[in-house]
């Protein structure tokens, strides 16, 4: 339980720092880079490193490559939809999570299963 709480606190802090950096920079397309910062990865891998070791972290990182490709699909689709249609951001970004899940698990089945 305490490990989960520690992950929550460190993850929240690291993600908040990168999100704040994203707020500060202009233009918006440059600030957007911080939307894909390795914040969750840094928090998770640093904690996993001390408990599970480097081999375990390497296996997680291999899958993360596919997660990042799924993120590319997710962000590209959102960019296209928001440019061509006048939509609210929350429904588009939240419903597109399905796209990330589809792409990530589809790639995992093809490449790593």
């Amino acid at each position: 339980m305490s490990e989960i709480a520690l992950r929550f606190l460190i993850g929240g802090a690291v993600v908040s720092v990168f999100a704040l950096l994203g707020d500060l920079f202009k233009p918006k397309s440059f600030a957007g880079l911080f939307g894909a910062a390795p914040s969750v990865a840094l928090a998770t891998l640093a904690l996993t490193l001390s408990s599970e070791g480097a081999r375990y972290v390497a296996t997680e990182a291999r899958s993360m490559v596919l997660g990042a490709v799924a993120f590319l699909v997710y962000a590209s689709v959102i960019s296209w939809v928001m440019m061509h249609y006048k939509c609210k951001a929350l429904p588009v970004t939240a419903s597109s999570f399905l796209l990330w899940f589809g792409a990530a698990f589809g790639l995992w089945c093809v490449c790593l299963r």
Binding site: A36, L42, E60, S63, M64, V81, L90, T93
Partner: protein, 148 residues
Amino acid sequence: MKIHVELNVVRQTEWYEYALRFLSGGLITATAGIIAKKFGPEIGGLFLAFPAIFPASATLIEKHERESKARLGLKGTKRASRAVSVAAAGASIGTIGLAAFALVVWKTIPNHSPWLVLLGATLVWMTLSVLLWRARKRLALFRRGILN
């Protein structure tokens, strides 16, 4: 447009918006750990690139754009939508850097100092993302005939 820092954004952001991001980040980090424990690192690793805080950031961008247009008596719906689109385009470039980060960690962490690998991979993410962003900017200017 040159890259610059605008500190007044910090004052425009409400405390609950910071709290929401902290909560989203904390939840996905804790969830990624639980998934890795239950289903193994092969599945858990996918969630290290889950776009957990993107909806919160996009909503914040949309809100700030609408507020700035409302001060001029305009609705700003289209502008807000475009601003989110531009930020998402930036994020899509960042994901290439994110994949490079993961690739560096995957290939080098078993045989090198883990903390140096994490530091180096973060530098690779930052450098590659900025270079790609600059290249895309130059390409856009070139296409418009501004740059020869």
